[in-house]
Structures are given as structure tokens and as C-alpha cells.
């Protein structure tokens, strides 16, 4: 059973968003890491980069494949998580917490509301 924390919003492409005022943290869901298994490399965007909602801005590589990560919201990247660069396995063991990818300053707070609720995401992944 996938873990689907109730304080997060979800994108159809399996990223999660944790909003805190006008910034948010982004990572991939427990369901996504379980599909990928063995994550061996994470490529994160540069701090300061402007991204648009839906834009590919990071890459997660498992043994078998490289997967694009799409930013659920638009804004400026303010921080990236060096821990997952040093230890990609963290994304498998703590996808909703320590395995976060980047923090972003929201340019359009309404985009967060358009994302899936935990219940809708649960339905999407067949839970």
C-alpha cells in the first residue's frame, strides 16, 4: 500500500507538493519510488532557475531507466536537496520527507489548488 500523506497535493505525474506560505517543497511519491525501485542518480535543477508548471526540471534514474520530473507549479527554485544527490537511495526510503528534491517560490499560488487531493491521487493509482 502506497503512503499518501494528507498534508500534500499531488500531480498526475506522481510528484508531490508541500506548501508553506509562498514557497513549496517538491518530491516524488511513495508510489513512484516503488515503481522505479533502485534509484541510482538524481539530477536537480539549478538554484535560481525559473520553471513553469508542467516543465521537466529534474531527472531520476533507476538501474533500468531515466525518468523526467515535472514541476507541479511555476516559480523560482530556491533550494535543492544535496542529500539525494549524495545518496539517491534516500528517495526510495523517505520519498515524502528526507527524499525531497527542491524548494520553489510560487509565482502563482492558485496552481497548487489545481493539483490532486490525496483522495484523488489515491484513486488515480488504484488505491
Amino acid at each position: 500500500m502506497s503512503n499518501i500523506p494528507s498534508d500534500l497535493k499531488y500531480a498526475k505525474s506522481h510528484e508531490w507538493l508541500r506548501v508553506s506560505g509562498d514557497t513549496a517543497t517538491v518530491g516524488i511519491t511513495d508510489h513512484a519510488q516503488a515503481e522505479l525501485t533502485d534509484i541510482v542518480f538524481v539530477e536537480l535543477p539549478a538554484v535560481g532557475r525559473q520553471v513553469k508548471a508542467g516543465e521537466a526540471c529534474a531527472v531520476v534514474e533507476s538501474v533500468k531507466t531515466a525518468s523526467d520530473i515535472y514541476s507541479p507549479v511555476s516559480g523560482e527554485i530556491t533550494a535543492v536537496n544535496a542529500a539525494v544527490v549524495d545518496n539517491p537511495a534516500l528517495v526510495n526510503t523517505a520519498p515524502d520527507s528526507d527524499g525531497w528534491f527542491y524548494k520553489i517560490k510560487l509565482s502563482n499560488a492558485a496552481e497548487a489548488d489545481a493539483l490532486l487531493s490525496p483522495d484523488d491521487y489515491k484513486k488515480q493509482i488504484g488505491g
Partner: protein, 374 residues
Amino acid sequence: MLKRTALFSAHQKLGAKLIDFGGWEMPVQYTSITDEHLAVRNAAGIFDISHMGEVTVSGSGAESFLNSVLTNDIRKLVTGDGQYTLMCNEHGTVIDDLYAYKLSVGIYFLIINASRIEPDVAWLQAQAAKFSGELNLSDASHNYAAIAVQGPRVKEFINAVIPGASSSVFKVSAVTDLKKNQIAGFNFENHSVFVSRTGYTGEDGFEIVGGDESIQHLWDKFISIGQPFGLKPAGLGARDTLRTEVCYPLYGHELDEETTPIEAGVGFFVALDKGEFNGRSVLAEQKTNGVKKKLVAFKMTDKSAPPRPHYPIWANGASVGEVVSGTQSPSLNLGIGMGYVPPEFAMPDTKIEIEIRGKRFAAVVVKKPIFKKT
């Protein structure tokens, strides 16, 4: 509708992640590629290889026919021996790589790649039509299922799964008495199965070919008897990382109809002196005058994403070749791969770069195999 092997329901029961492999619905992994890979390196893994093809070639002309279509010298085989060999066309490029076994005088058994069954059989039939000796060629692929059991601990339990002495081909007192590359027939639940001491992982192991029901029962028996020794079911994902670590070629990657065995570095299996065979003149010319591209093995030396097939290889500031196989090595914890470069960049210790998503990362050419057990 994808094809399914006799072990499909076994894979479903184990919760395997299934993918389309050349038209077959096959397990890419059961738990994780890394776990399955390390199980094979440290204990044992069991693979479904039923999708592979089998061809029987028999008759008094069989040996001479096969020597005219395959690159290795089949006359080296005594009954019960097998050899790695390649089948080339008139341009010396590879139609398939395969194993050829001598089951008795005048009876040979070929194990061919799943993705190449049709072109191989068509080619063999076309060549056979031009051959004037006594020859019988039969595509027996639909008659057989097969499994591979690989890893250092397999020899500790395989005799309990397939007990007793061999019943055909040649006499051994137990499965574990088979030497590397040997094959014999064994009785299992009143049916005959072939067991060979061969594999595609770089570990000791066995491959078993038999009817659907025998292989289904063998799979279950292996899983139950092997479990205390650490045996795990392993999928195509681990199969690929294992063979890449030891630099075994995979048709469609290191070998294809645009590549010769000499370019691929498997000239050892080309017996130019045995007489005429398809592609001989091109291969002889390459052995004398050299090649334009050479297969190299490499390791990433910068921290980077893993190399993957088709990523460009750079040397001396120019794009000179392409990766054909690449992955993160579970045994070594770094990116490894194989690719083609002009021969001047093929010496071990040559510094190269791999282009990954538009950026170049340092790598170094290494001797094969990339991974060696100490």
C-alpha cells in the same frame, strides 16, 4: 497480444513487474534489479529463458553444414560439448550469436536468441537448400521451455532438484559433474531434460531445457529447495546488468547486421583456418588489416548519471562513437558500459567522455571484463 512462456503464471504469483520483450510478456524484475543481481553474484538466481529458440540439426552432413554457416570450429566438439559461436552473412556481419551443442554423432542442438528466431531459421533453411549432404533442420523452439540457474551456491543444491546420473548424451554421475560448456540429458519426473553448465551472468550455473510441464515443476522445485541457500527469482533487468558487468554481448547492442565479430572483439570464436564459411573472406581481411570501429568497455570516472545505449562517446574533443550497452553496476556502484570507437581510442586507460543529456562526463576505457570476481 504478447506471447507468454510456460512460466507466466509463476511470474504473476511472485508479483513480477512484466514488460514487453521482443513480443514476449516477460518479468523485468520481481523485487528490485539490484537485489536480484546481487543474489546471483553472492548466492543464486533463477531466470525464465523459455523465450529463447532451439534448432536441431542432424544428418551425416550436419557437422560439415554447421561448420560452413557458423564461425567457430564445430569439429572441436565431442559428444556432450557445447561452444559459443556466431552466424554471419556474406558481409561478415552478425545474424546471431548462439551456443551449439553436440548431442551425438550427427545430431546438433542450437540455442539461439529469442529476438532472432525467425531470421536465424530463415537463413539456415536458405543455406541448407544449397547444401548437398544429408541434412535435417528443425525449428524446435515451440517444443521447449527453459530456465537458467546461476550463482556460486547453485552447485550446493541442484543435485537435490535433479537427482541421479545422466540418462542420455554422455554419462555423468550427477548434474554437478558436468564441466563448463558440457550438456547431458537427465530424467526428471519421467521426462527428459537437457542440462548444460552454461550461463550469461559470469557466475557458475546451469541452463535447463525441457517440455513446458517439466520446466514448470522444475521452477517450483528450484524455488523451494534453493530458498534456504538464498536463491531468488531474477528478471531481465538483472540479466542485463549481470551480463554487462562481464561484457557479454547482447544481439541488437554489441552485435547486429552492421557489425562483424572482429569489431565486437569476439574474434577468438572465429576459426579462420577451418575452411570456408559465410563471411570468412571479410573477417580474414579485418584480422589482417584492422577494423574501423572497435568495441570497448568503459567505466565512468566522474560522478554522473549512468551511461545508456545511444549516448555519444567523445574523445579528443570530438564525438567519435556511441554507447551500445550501459547501466549503473550494482556490484561496483558506478556507471559502466560498452561502446564502439575508432581503434585509436580502444586501448585500455584511454580517457573518453560520455555525453549525457547534453553534458559530457569523464570515463575511461578498461579491459574486459569490467567486473571480475576476486
